[in-house]
């Protein structure tokens, strides 16, 4: 069966510090991968998606970047965090050859102080 991992679960970082959040998927090949951010009490905002290694599409201009160095690994990064980067970050995968459903990881709670 497929599983998706995200770490860390929670993170407190000062303004101006770098960021690296990691997401890995097991049990599937060539998934579509997604990074979302969720503000408190709000819906999800799609930040990046990837349909293959090295292929990244950005949905909104921002202080963040994403990379996909391996087929089942998706990384969200920042060189210098802003206060507005605080939020709940969710990674998801899908396999469009089978279904349009997306499967979500447990999320990372980021607080920028």
């Amino acid at each position: 069966s497929q599983t998706i991992h995200q770490w860390p679960a929670t993170l407190v970082q000062p303004v101006g510090s770098p960021l690296s959040l990691e997401c890995t998927v097991e049990g599937t090949s060539n998934p579509n991968l997604y990074w979302y951010r969720q503000a408190a009490g709000r819906g999800l905002q799609l930040l990046f998606y990837s349909v293959g290694i090295g292929q990244i599409s950005s949905e909104v201009p921002q202080n963040l970047s994403a990379s996909r160095p391996q087929d089942r690994q998706f990384i969200l990064s920042s060189k210098k965090l802003l206060l507005s980067d605080s939020g709940f970050y969710l990674c998801a995968w899908s396999c469009l050859a089978v279904t349009y459903e997306q499967y979500f990881g447990p999320g990372t709670r980021l607080t920028v102080t």
Binding site: N32, Y36, G41, R42, G43, L44, Q45, L46, Y49, V51, E59, F88, L90, A92, S94, L96, T99, Y100, E101, Q102, Y103, F104, G105, P106, G107, R109
Partner: protein, 112 residues
């Protein structure tokens, strides 16, 4: 911009009652999905309804879709305290099936 908007924003009911949540969207869609999120957790897919379908059932869930009104509803029958969660609709449009646009969600509280 938000494609789907849920209504109400919050709903509180007694165990055993039915809960109905609504979702409106703006553009033509390929399909519409409903997800559930327990507090502080990831989202879990509940049900998908295609644009050519009008109603779909899964256990205690019933979803309807009215493409002429660009709206959908999620009905949870015989609710349980464990149904307490946020519920989101998500749409994907023709030509962009890789991307989902989520609404702002309905917070459902089921009181024991």
């Amino acid at each position: 911009s938000q494609q789907g908007e849920e209504d109400p924003q919050a709903l509180s009911i007694q165990e055993g009652e039915n809960a109905t949540m609504n979702c409106s969207y703006k553009t033509s869609i390929n399909n519409l999905q409903w997800y559930r999120q327990n507090s502080g957790r990831g989202l879990v897919h509940l049900i998908l309804i295609r644009s050519n379908e009008r109603e779909k059932h899964s256990g205690r869930l019933r979803v309807t879709l009215d493409t002429s009104k660009k709206s959908s509803s999620l009905l949870i029958t015989a609710s349980r305290a464990a149904d307490t969660a946020s519920y989101f609709c998500a749409t994907d449009a023709y030509g962009s099936a890789r991307q989902l646009t989520f609404g702002s969600g309905t917070q459902l509280t089921v009181l024991p």
